[in-house]
């Protein structure tokens, strides 16, 4: 008999319990709410991590009732509800809805009254987490409206979660930070990056700082280069409207990939404390820069997917997608080379790439170590392969270490082998969605996995030369076409070829 779950594992988690509170979701009629937020909250409910004194208040412009909201929220959870009908029934008694337009000041006062009613009904003690799942253009006005209604007054009882993207560039992020910080203390602001909710991204911290074998070699003396890849097989899908104005650089690099870069390269914090960790992340991002800031086209390649696929399954090019300008120059692929100017990383190139419609869905960090100083043995492949540590973020979450061993037989030839750790094989159960972890942390008041204002600004500052060039003289950074379901434009391969390197083929 094969057991799908480990019966001894069930119910073993002992985690901090969220204090009584009401989670207020603005933009509750949007996709994110029913696709990610409500499923994540339901998961927390099933895991018994939500207190009995808990409520969710959905807010959006649509004139829904509580009942309609509950029905709409069930649509992404059909299978879950079929398996756990009683849990869902119980969960929905905590779901409420209030039609709100954040542009109307009178609506925020209406919201205040409704929250007071919910406080009485569910004993939520005026503890509130406000989640801005709205269009980025409403972040500033939303914060102001909440502040003016006095809903952010008590820093111990109210906090605000802001989705990405936080700004469009360094200046707008700085401006938005100022507005937000005028409305609430930094300790009340939780800027979400769902990549930080991934178990495997958090595991980079544990791998580095809970083991003694990695940290001594995690530096320029032993590491020759680092590649960070986040590849998707899907195209722009139904996000053309947003994607046309953002592109891969804003959509993926400035946030997710930069966070992976920061976690991979930060100095060890003195203790596992939110501020200590965020200080180190911020410091390393401030030390990062493009390999050639004056001539960014020499260290950055942009691409855009064109048609591809097979005869039976043809794939559209980006410019043919619904909602995309047929002459669009928005990048769906970007690759670049960075350096970090500090003692640990001076001279080590960091190659970052992300793209849509690539050959394989994968996210990984690959650390390639320096070659052995003297080659004593013949290698099966001509020269010995450099040691590599591969941290697989998704899918097949895990880690892999490549090293040379003696090839069996007479003689002393070496060949590379792999040592592997797989989450699936070791733990056998899927980890929680990033939103489960991040929602719980926000409601617990733990900001460790959220980005602080200085981190966001440092991340935007890093890419400012590119963003300015794309804005002012886009011809200097053209978007090269690449066939759908390939590994991006050949110009990206040349970026590494100049350094006698190749992108790893995952």
């Amino acid at each position: 008999m094969i057991m799908t779950t480990n019966p001894l594992r069930i119910g073993l988690r002992q985690e901090r319990v969220i204090s009584p509170q009401c989670l207020v979701i603005f933009g509750a009629s949007g996709d994110l709410t029913h696709r990610k937020l409500i499923p994540a909250l339901f998961e927390l409910f099933k895991q018994r991590r939500l207190p009995s004194e808990f409520a969710i208040l959905g807010c959006a412009r649509r004139p829904w009732t509580d009942k309609e909201f509950r029905e709409k929220m069930s649509k992404s959870l059909t299978e879950e509800i079929r398996i756990n009908p009683n849990d869902w029934k119980e969960f929905t008694t905590r779901l409420f809805y209030e039609p709100i337009n954040l542009d109307h000041p009178e609506d925020t006062f209406k919201l205040k009254t409704r929250l007071e009613e919910i406080d009485k009904l569910k004993a939520t003690h005026a503890n509130r987490t406000f989640y801005l799942s709205v269009s980025p253009k409403f972040y500033a006005s939303g914060c102001k409206a909440l502040s003016e209604a006095g809903l952010l007054k008590d820093p111990k009882r109210s906090r605000i979660v802001i989705e990405k993207p936080f700004g469009r560039d360094y200046r707008s992020a700085q401006k938005l930070n100022r507005i937000v910080q005028n409305c609430a203390l930094e300790s009340q602001v939780y800027r979400i990056d769902h990549y930080l909710g991934k178990e495997t991204v958090q595991n980079i911290l544990v791998l580095r700082f809970a083991n003694t074998i990695f940290e001594p070699i995690w530096n320029r003396n032993y590491i020759s280069n680092v590649q960070i890849t986040s590849a998707e097989t899907v195209g722009v899908e139904d996000r053309a409207g947003y994607y046309e104005s953002s592109g891969a650089l804003r959509d993926m690099v400035q946030n997710h990939l930069t966070q992976m870069l920061a976690i991979t390269t930060m100095e060890p914090p003195g203790h596992f404390d939110p501020e200590a960790i965020r200080n180190e992340k911020s410091k390393v991002l401030q030390a990062a820069h493009l390999a050639n800031e004056l001539e960014p086209w020499k260290c950055c390649v942009r691409g855009q997917y064109s048609q591809g696929g097979t005869k039976s399954n043809p794939l559209k090019g980006y410019r043919e997608e619904v909602g995309v300008n047929p002459n669009s120059t928005t990048e769906t692929y970007v690759a670049m080379k960075l350096f970090i100017n500090n003692w640990r990383w001076q001279g080590v190139p960091f190659y970052i790439r992300t793209g849509k419609r690539l050959a394989k869905r994968t996210s990984e960090v690959v650390l390639t170590f320096r070659e052995a100083p003297v080659h004593l043995f013949d290698a099966a492949g001509g020269t010995p392969t450099s040691n590599q540590l591969i941290l697989r973020i998704q899918p097949d979450e895990g880690a892999e270490f490549k090293f040379e061993v003696k090839s069996p037989g007479s003689g002393m030839r070496s060949r590379p082998v792999e040592m592997e750790f797989s989450y699936d094989e070791s733990f056998g159960e899927p980890s929680d969605e990033g939103y489960v972890r991040l929602l719980a942390d926000a409601m617990l008041g733990d900001p460790t996995l959220f980005t602080r204002s200085d981190e966001v600004e440092a991340a935007w500052r890093l890419y400012t030369p590119l963003l300015e060039m794309i804005e002012d003289s886009p011809w200097q950074l053209p978007t090269y076409q690449y066939e759908s379901r390939t590994w991006g434009p050949s110009e990206a391969d040349q970026l590494l070829a100049k350094d006698q390197l190749l992108w790893r083929r995952p």
């Binding site: 008999m1 094969i2 057991m3 480990n6 019966p7 001894l8 594992r9 069930i10 119910g11 073993l12 002992q14 985690e15 901090r16 319990v17 204090s19 018994r48 991590r49 207190p51 009995s52 004993a123 003690h125 005026a126 503890n127 111990k156 009882r157 699936d424 094989e425 070791s426 733990f427 056998g428 159960e429």
Partner: protein, 436 residues
């Protein structure tokens, strides 16, 4: 982490004046501050052995009510001096009764309830009420009050977040003073009772304090096993949120065992277990029974009505869902230097037999860091796949464990404990009925 003191010297105030004093404290001195919106913790803290050792001059005062090393070391000396069995835990009832009462007791300060361990203060309790019974017969009720604020590095700010109330006196005067306690507990916040003493003592007082809506923290390692499991069972049945420190201390055993069976290729062995052996320190069997019961519950085993005793080994059987028998041996081992917590597990072994003769079975041995598991390694498992794991010792001060419960309790009893406690009680009944 060192304990913290209240920031102001506690004021001695007559009991009837406390509500008025607190009202004025929060409304006048600390205007616009209503205190932390967290919880109220009521602590029964007898510290009998410490009181006796301090009044006898065997350890230095003041009386603090925590498990400081000086107290434990002196109590261990008494075990040897009084020829108590070496397995006697240092804070056991037998140690207390063997310390003679002092004819000219030392007068030392009694600071129980005024030292707040930082593990608890980090959680910013709104109100801490300590009941500190005195050994001194005829001691009148004394009540102390102070505003309290955790240090900034413990999560506190500049403003006061809670208050501390201490009720001291002999048992009779404390009981008389109890009428004020309920009025002091904020109605709109969760309230907890931490019974930081033996479950055999003062059952009426326990009932009086552990009202159904209150979350209770007990230690099922302190008291007669049958009484401990009775309290657990009754409270769970009544729907009260019960948190057991003895169960909490099992968490590393549960975690380590679960970890062994995390890889999917090992899980099928769980349905082929034929033997379960658990070794414990001394003869307080509750923790051993709880671990076996948790496993039985998770794997769907039913208890078989059979019991035998063989030296230190208590033997019973379970039936697996496929009706095959699992032999369970609970070994009560004498040890030289027992833990302060009675009946701690020091080793366990699971033997899983493969259905196919040609395949090896699996033997899982978990050993405590403090002990060794040579006994469990013996017995002809050479042909089996052997998995040995070391279980980390939990040397947390009790306040750290209580803080863990305070921050992780969901306002109801853990379902794992709710399911395991009745099986443990059945096992104990079986063992005791055969022993009678």
């Amino acid at each position: 982490m060192s304990p913290q003191l209240t920031l102001q010297t506690p004021l001695q105030i007559p009991p009837q004046e406390i509500p008025g004093y607190l009202k004025s404290l929060w409304s006048n001195d600390l205007s616009e501050n209503n205190g932390a919106n967290t919880f109220c913790l009521l602590v029964w803290q007898p510290a009998w052995i410490e009181q006796k050792l301090v009044t006898n001059g065997r350890i230095n005062g003041p009386i603090l009510g925590n498990e400081r090393s000086e107290l434990i070391d002196e109590a261990r000396k008494i075990v040897l001096e009084k020829n108590l069995p070496h397995s006697t835990p240092p804070l056991a009832k037998e140690v207390f009764t063997s310390i003679p009462a002092s004819k000219s007791p030392n007068k030392e300060d009694d600071l129980r309830g005024q030292h707040i361990d930082s593990a608890i203060s980090q959680l910013q309790p709104r109100r801490l009420i300590t009941l500190a019974p005195s050994l001194e017969k005829g001691k009148e009720l004394e009540t102390l009050v102070a505003a309290y604020c955790p240090l900034p590095e413990e999560g506190g700010g500049n403003s006061a977040c809670g208050d501390v109330i201490v009720l001291k006196g002999d048992i009779d005067s404390l009981k008389k003073g109890l009428c004020i306690v309920e009025n002091l507990i904020p109605e709109d916040l969760p309230s907890w009772l931490w019974w930081n003493g033996n479950l055999d003592e003062e059952p009426e007082l326990l009932n009086q304090l552990a009202i159904p809506t209150r979350r209770v923290v007990i230690d099922s390692a302190l008291g007669e096993p049958s009484r401990c499991l009775d309290v657990l069972q009754q409270r769970i049945k009544s729907g009260q949120a019960v948190n057991d420190l003895n169960w909490l201390r099992l968490r590393t055993w549960r975690q380590t065992l679960a970890m062994v069976f995390d890889p999917p290729n090992r899980r099928s062995s769980l349905s082929k277990i034929v033997n379960l052996d658990i070794d414990i320190e001394g003869d307080h069997i509750v923790q051993g029974l709880l671990l076996a019961s948790w496993i039985a519950d998770k794997l769907g085993w039913r208890l078989v009505n059979e019991f035998s005793k063989d030296g230190h080994s208590l033997n019973t059987k379970f039936k697996r869902p496929d009706n095959e028998i699992v032999n369970f041996h609970l070994m009560t081992l004498p040890v030289g230097k027992p833990s302060i917590h009675p009946g701690q597990i020091i080793g366990m072994r699971l033997i899983c037999k493969s259905e196919k003769e040609s395949q090896d079975g699996l033997c899982v041995i978990l050993g405590s860091e403090s002990g060794e598991c040579m006994r469990l390694e013996a017995g002809g498992m050479a042909s089996m796949d052997l998995l040995e794991e070391l279980v980390p010792i939990q040397n947390n001060p009790v306040e750290t464990d209580v803080a863990l419960l305070l921050e992780s309790s969901r306002g109801s009893t853990s379902p794992l404990l709710s399911n395991a406690a009745p099986i443990a009680a059945q096992l104990l009944n079986l063992i005791e009925s055969e022993n009678r």
